[in-house]
Amino acid sequence: MATTLESARPRTRVRSSSPSPRRVRGIGGWIVRILLGVVFAFPLLFMFVSSLKPDQQIFGDLSSIAAFLPVGNLSLDNYGAVFDRVPAARFLVNSIGISAVTVVLGVLINSLAAFALSRMKVRGKGVILTLIIATLIVPFETLALPLVWWVNQLPWLDLNGFSLSLTTGWLDTYQVQILPFVANAFSIYLFHQYFESIPKELDEAARVDGASWFKIYRKIVMPLSGPAIATVSILTFLPAWNSYLWPLMVVQSEELRPVMIGVQYFFQLNVSWGEVMAYSSMITLPVVALFIAFQRSFVNSIASSGVKG
């Protein structure tokens, strides 16, 4: 009976001249998605297109759809001007280096911490995890000045040729832009939640075979945690790439500055918006490329960990 009813439904739909409610919902869903896509894509499109136009034309096109189209007097002049105003290549290299090292160390340190909390028998680990998560509610701005004081007291071993010398104070260095951001409560939480979803029987079997904790971490848990690694990588990369306040406070030498400080170079009394758009395009491209490369893992991990962003 059920089969008969099911098979009858499509015939009814084919005969009907009006679209079914399900189809209408499908079309509606696509329209909403397209509209959302447009809303999110148009600012980027405007940025890229405007980076090719002279200032006068950018403002002239604002009142029409031409603002989003590569029409009119197009050139790469704004990109050339960017390099005259800002050491953009140096800033890009700095940001890539700082972000990459922060991501690599962040994945390593936070996954190790999460592994210990998830797998090892540590008394009070629930409390420890709660305390770690509780640090998320403290805004960075309230910690910034005390942190400046702290990093100015820390020792460092400087390599001068073949001799090591002990110095004090990390200000105006690369390490001050990396090390304070390696340990991250949210990354530990994310890894912890993901590790909890990996069957413990796997590492118990490995323990029976004589594997050490580190071997279990390295050979079993981490290879199964690709989506979590991708998500933590992106979530660590983005703030490292967008970092502005911290480098502003702790870096004085131009050769050590990251890309975001460079944005401020353009806001003089007479702003050249074409140059602003060109520089913004240059520093946005790596982020977009990274997201496109990792988007599947990113979405998977966000979905599986229940994190809504």
Binding site: V122, R123, L145, L166, T168, L245, L248, M249
Partner: protein, 430 residues
């Protein structure tokens, strides 16, 4: 306790102790060493501004070549974040020997002991008063230039509206100004004929709008002892200013929120008059040619007023070689150096001797009006360490008034906060 956990705890404690020991072995943590090894660092707000930075670098290069005892090294920061960088460096005792500083902040930096009094070998009496930063009877900073606020318009628009062109000797009165705005609005070419830069933030708000208040007869604080804003910022004259100011928005003469770039909007004919600074003149002149008119601010009862004081130079208290820093500043104040910076930046040279070297500042020169405005109308922002707080409170009140808040209430609130701040800082006395 688990054995492994004990080991972890012990290792952590050992590591923490080691770090602490290493820190204790360090070399005088936190003390500025700038100037100690024959190299003095100079911080400037000109990153991204190749014209001014180039002029500063040329002066530094010339000084470095003129002697062999010390070397000056330039580090440039973006203007918008410059103060934050200085405050962070000061908290870590890492300030350089020479800093540039926005004029109105000088008393605060002097009070905070960032700056040392200047001891230069040049006579500063010939400088425009607004190019000197003073506090407690001492000079802490000196600038190469000042800037001046003005009203830029198209002569053709004013003519079409039947409005006369205001001059330094004959500025618009309040009634004339209101009449001019009504006539321009009547032409129907602009949503709002006046661009006051209402999208501006930070120091723009007190710099641009407190001169209107002062022209009405009010002020940001009682300047007799700088201990209270009561009566100055919320008295009858101040409320009169606030009502008039809000009326410009309510009557549709000025936009509640202007565009981000007022000069660009004016050049794109989105406004008839733009209230801006001398820095916009060259761009406007290039675009409009002889149609551009440069007019003084409005006389709202007590003569036209504009803000005085731009970027200046000072020597920090932690500098290990202050004599060399003072020697550099003295060298940099030669008329040809001041002229070079003024030429590069389109600003008003600090001395007449320098102005004589800059084309455009002769009596009939195209930039002469700005020098005249500065000499006749410049009012220094209050020379008190409380100024940064006063500026913030005034800025909030101005934005509230623009948005339609009750003027008296907005001003009273600002006065209450300012007075409380001064009191909590013990009157900002030494």
């Amino acid at each position: 306790m688990n054995t492994r956990f004990k080991r972890l705890l012990a290792a952590s404690l050992t590591a923490a102790t080691l770090v602490g020991s290493l820190a204790a072995c360090g070399t005088g943590a936190g003390n500025s060493k700038d100037g100690a090894n024959g190299e003095l660092t100079l911080w400037t707000h000109n990153a991204g501004n190749p014209d001014e930075l180039g002029a500063i670098q040329s002066i530094v290069d010339a000084y470095n070549q003129s002697q062999s005892k010390v070397k000056i090294k330039v580090q440039a920061f973006p203007q918008d974040s410059y103060n934050d960088s200085v405050v962070a460096a000061a908290s870590a005792n890492k300030l350089p020997c020479i800093v540039d500083i926005d004029g109105p902040n000088v008393p605060n930096w002097a009070w905070s002991k960032y700056l040392a009094p200047l001891n230069l070998s040049v006579d500063l009496s010939a400088n425009l008063p607004s190019t000197l930063g003073k506090w407690n009877g001492q000079t802490y900073s000196v600038g190469y230039y000042d800037v001046a606020l003005a009203m830029l318009a198209r002569a053709s628009d004013l003519k079409a509206a039947g409005v006369r062109i205001a001059t330094a000797d004959n500025p618009w009165t309040k009634d004339e100004f209101n009449g001019a705005l009504a006539a321009l609005k009547k032409l129907g070419k602009w949503d709002a004929p006046l661009d006051l830069g209402t999208a501006g933030t930070g120091e723009w708000l007190p710099y641009a709008y407190s001169p209107f208040l002062q022209s009405f007869g009010g002020d940001l604080i009682n300047r007799s002892d700088f201990q209270s804003a009561d009566g100055a910022l919320n008295g009858d004259k101040a409320v009169e200013w606030a009502n008039w100011f809000h009326g410009l928005i309510a009557d549709g003469y000025a936009a509640q929120k202007s565009g981000k770039d007022s000069t660009a909007d004016f050049l794109n004919n989105k406004s008839a008059i733009v209230y801006t600074g001398s820095w916009a003149a060259d761009k406007a002149r290039t675009a409009l040619g002889d149609d551009l008119v440069v007019m003084p601010s409005v006389d709202l009862g007590n003569g036209p007023k504009i803000g005085g004081g731009s970027w200046q130079w000072g020597v920090t208290t932690g500098c290990k070689n202050p004599e060399a820093a003072m020697d550099y500043l003295s060298f940099s104040l030669k008329p040809e150096n001041i002229a070079a910076v003024a030429k590069a930046t389109g600003t008003i040279p600090a001395t007449d001797a320098a102005a004589a070297l800059v084309p455009g500042y002769e009596p009939t020169g195209k930039n002469r009006p700005f020098l005249d405005f500065s000499k006749k109308s410049a009012v220094l922002r209050p020379e008190t360490p409380a100024y940064p707080f006063i500026a913030t409170e005034f800025g909030k009140a101005a934005q509230d008034i623009i948005s339609g808040a009750d003027p008296k209430q907005a001003l009273d609130k600002a006065v209450k906060n300012i007075d409380a701040n001064i009191k909590s800082n013990n009157g900002y006395k030494n």
